[in-house]
């Protein structure tokens, strides 16, 4: 299966992103990492024959959530607590 390699690679990236999301000290980077997980997940959904889910995950799970995170992060203009 040609998809398999892609999925493996994406999976590895997603795991790295998950690590980043959880451990990166900069909250914005962490948010973006989690957004990337969502985005890659939506790609996998397409492979899994779920276009509806893919679109939704991309639009809502990935984009919109990240936007909301950023709105909030912007309000919390804090430097020392982001450690």
């Amino acid at each position: 299966m040609s998809y398999t390699f892609i999925v493996i690679i994406m999976g590895i990236i997603m795991l790295v992103m998950a690590f980043t999301a959880i451990y990166h000290k900069n909250l914005k980077v962490a948010v973006i990492a989690s957004g990337i997980i969502s985005l890659f997940a939506s790609v996998i959904y397409i492979f899994l024959a779920a276009p509806d889910v893919a679109i939704t995950e991309a639009a809502i799970g990935s984009a919109l959530t990240v936007v909301i995170f950023f709105y909030v992060l912007n309000k919390i203009r804090l430097t020392d607590d982001t450690k």
Binding site: D52, I55, T56, A59, A63, L64, V67, Y71, K75
Partner: protein, 232 residues
């Protein structure tokens, strides 16, 4: 240290539970009775080509109603939490760039139309109310970004929210009165399979869902944008 090892331990425990849960997993060969029914009778019964839509809007319409309600609730609560605090008194932080304003003036109607297209075609193609609603919300984001500093009226959003939500419930009710039950889409003609105007009330309901989702998400973003919370 003790704490961390304990956490590792319980995470490992969860891993073990999940592995047990998937222990019987093997790649599926056949649809089960339930999904088989959706695949064979779904198009006939609902008139929707997109089976996911058929399931989401009719068979599991009550879930969708609940889901819309959750969004409505979160929007309400967020509004309730943030609006009660200080609002930004029209203070302009920085001038919005001309490019953004111009671009947004062009883009917003286009994005809006795309969103409408997505949910109107929900019964035929991938996408539908949620996706369309999200797109509508992105138009909203763009608009907010370009209109930085001006106050945005909530009334339109609120009316959209209320009317579309009530419309959803009302259509469900029509299902009881005119067809086989709550959220039955067949009280409108199923039309020709695969056409835009078909699948009974599904496009209507999905549109309402789209409007509702769009309005809720927009509302959340709007409120978040406006609040002066934590900006001392």
């Amino acid at each position: 240290m003790i704490r961390n090892s304990f956490l590792v331990l319980i995470t490992a425990g969860m891993a073990w539970i999940l592995l047990d849960a998937v222990s019987g997993y093997q790649s599926r060969e056949y649809l089960n009775d339930l999904s088989g029914y959706y695949a064979t009778s779904g198009p006939e019964e609902t008139g929707a080509a997109n089976l996911v839509t058929a399931v989401v809007v009719t068979y599991r319409g009550l879930d969708t109603l609940g889901e819309v309600t959750i969004l409505f609730l979160t929007a309400t609560i967020i509004g309730f939490m943030l609006r009660t605090s200080k609002r930004r008194e029209g203070s302009v932080r920085r001038a919005t760039s001309e490019v953004l304003v111009t671009a947004s003036n062009v883009l917003i109607p286009v994005i809006f139309l795309i969103g409408v297209y997505i949910f109107l075609n929900g019964h035929l193609t991938p996408g539908g109310g949620f996706q369309g609603g999200a797109v509508l919300a992105s138009a909203m984001i763009l608009w907010i970004m370009s209109q930085s500093g001006t106050k945005v009226s909530h009334s339109l959003l609120e009316i959209t929210e209320a009317i579309s939500g009530f419309g959803f419930v009302f259509l469900g009710l029509l299902g009881i009165i005119l067809a086989g039950g709550f959220l039955d889409n067949t009280f409108l003609s199923l039309g020709t399979f695969g056409k835009l105007i078909s699948a009974g009330a599904i496009p209507v309901i999905y549109s309402l869902i789209g409007l509702k989702v769009g309005a809720e998400l927009s509302n959340i973003i709007l409120v978040m944008n406006e609040t002066q919370e934590a900006e001392q």
